[in-house]
Symmetry: C2
Subunit: 262 residues, 2 copies
């Protein structure tokens, strides 16, 4: 059975998608694992990030068909293969935009994704869920389905309050619908070595509030990531010897350990 | 009657809050206008950005009290003054998190903010609404209440699809609930002069899709903005001669013109 990692944050633009795609591709390329990335964001940034690598979408459907369909489809039925062996993604799906409105009165609406991954989990070693910057029905579905949640944040005054918001939501999910949900950690991203004053004071704020949850691995600033996204390739394909490939490679190895991946 | 500018984008972290606060403070400091910033984001990043300047909150209430209360309160009743003459903001309000869920079955839910600004508009020359990175009930309320919408985007492959998403929502609001809604423009933010290759190709994508909507004024990368936010001050207070203060000063003058501010 696959281990499931949700990558979620209330704050926008902190590298949720970049982190989800980079970790997943490191697990398949460097660790030989079968990995699926589930894109829960209507902006479809996962499939945009790897659009040059995506092969034809097997089932032809979209994630919102699976989630909104009472007939119990599985996410695996709409997953798309990529040129990277064992690395699959769910295709672009603007229909996710209406998921939260449409599910309002559906009984068990928070368990929909977990159910749609029941069989899918047997096809993969790991599943990574990329969440939108909004604590609503989609992010809650991810937290209910996940074994662990990783919370990226930048070292900025405006990012700290969003970490608290997300961790509170994770707490609530843990005490109700998913008792085994754990926090993989708070990941510092886009750490700019040149802003030492801001970094030091925001890091203090984060360590005061979240202590040991703050992961020792940091992701610095590397424009190779944006260039890779423009090319539609993951960072290991686009710039395997870049600093970003090194940081995400190390992080992926560390997280494989804490998640108990094969 | 105040002119109302919504600052909205589906993409996270593109500078919506930074832009809303910077334009509003420029209008009050440099143009002598009475300006209110309405913070529609549950992360409360507006009040975090200027927390050193906020004076006691007159009414003691929060925006979600006004929006969820059938008794017809006005936003002005909960607005907080700042040390900057004529510059007011709505206070921190995590309760906004539940607004969209609570309003689901309320008749006219998309008109709530516009109604709550009816009298408020007579107290100010301009109102700037900061939106969360999510096209849901809060952003739609902002589009229904606004005269114009400004759409910030960074020059990144992952930001372009979010601009389309927002402009489509604005179109829909314009053809239904707010016929006079106009697009003030697509604003390029965090433009990093060093990434010329990425910039040129993304700019092409944007100009192909949005043509004349792309504003000629660009906001570059200036860490004074993050340092100002850490200090809890607007950029004109914290670093009046910084590049960012210059860029936002020029933008504010240009937008005052297109909005028809006094
Ligand atoms: N370590 C990094 N160094 C430089 N740029 C980065 C880094 N991480 C992410 N970026 C860039 O920052 C932008 C935001 O990243 P990304 O889209 O992954 O964030 P997100 O949290 O998923 O955003 P959203 O809230 O919209 O879902 C992207 O353009 C990406 O290329
Ligand atoms: N021009 C700029 N130069 C450098 N840093 C910037 C610039 N504009 C914004 N930032 C920084 O980028 C981060 C994101 O900006 P901001 O929070 O305003 O974006 P947002 O679109 O409001 O995010 P969200 O989607 O979470 O609401 C902040 O930490 C801010 O300090
Ligand atoms: Mg994302
Ligand atoms: Mg914001």
């Amino acid at each position: 059975n696959a281990r499931i990692l949700a990558v979620a944050a209330q704050k926008g633009g902190v590298g949720k998608t970049t982190t989800a795609v980079s970790i997943a591709s490191a697990w398949s390329r460097l660790h030989g694992l079968h990995v699926l990335v589930v894109d829960l964001d209507p902006q479809a940034n996962v499939s945009i990030s790897v659009r040059s690598q995506i092969l034809a979408n097997r089932g032809g459907g979209a994630l919102s068909d699976v989630l909104e369909n009472e007939k119990r489809l599985e996410v695996a039925e709409i997953a798309a293969e990529t040129k990277v062996d064992g690395f699959h993604v769910t295709p672009m799906d603007p229909g996710l935009q209406h998921f939260e409105d449409r599910m309002v009165s559906r009984i068990g609406k928070e368990l929909i994704l977990r159910k749609a991954l029941e069989v899918t989990r047997t096809h993969y070693d790991a599943i990574v869920i990329d969440c939108p910057p909004h604590i609503g029905g989609l992010t809650v579905n991810a937290l209910v389905a996940a074994d662990q949640v990783l919370v990226p944040t930048s070292l900025a005054a405006l990012s700290v309050s969003g970490v608290t918001g997300l961790l509170e939501a994770a707490d609530e999910v843990q005490s109700t619908l998913n008792p085994q949900l754990e926090v993989a950690g708070v990941l510092l991203t886009r750490v700019d070595g040149r802003s030492t004053r801001v970094n030091a004071s925001v890091l203090d704020m984060l360590e005061d509030s979240f202590g040991a949850l703050v992961l020792p691995q940091h992701i610095g600033v590397d424009n190779a990531l944006a260039r890779a996204q423009l090319a539609g390739e993951d960072i290991f394909e686009f710039a395997p010897s870049s600093r970003a490939a090194g940081w995400y490679g190390d992080l992926a190895t560390q997280l494989a350990d804490t998640l108990g991946l094969p």
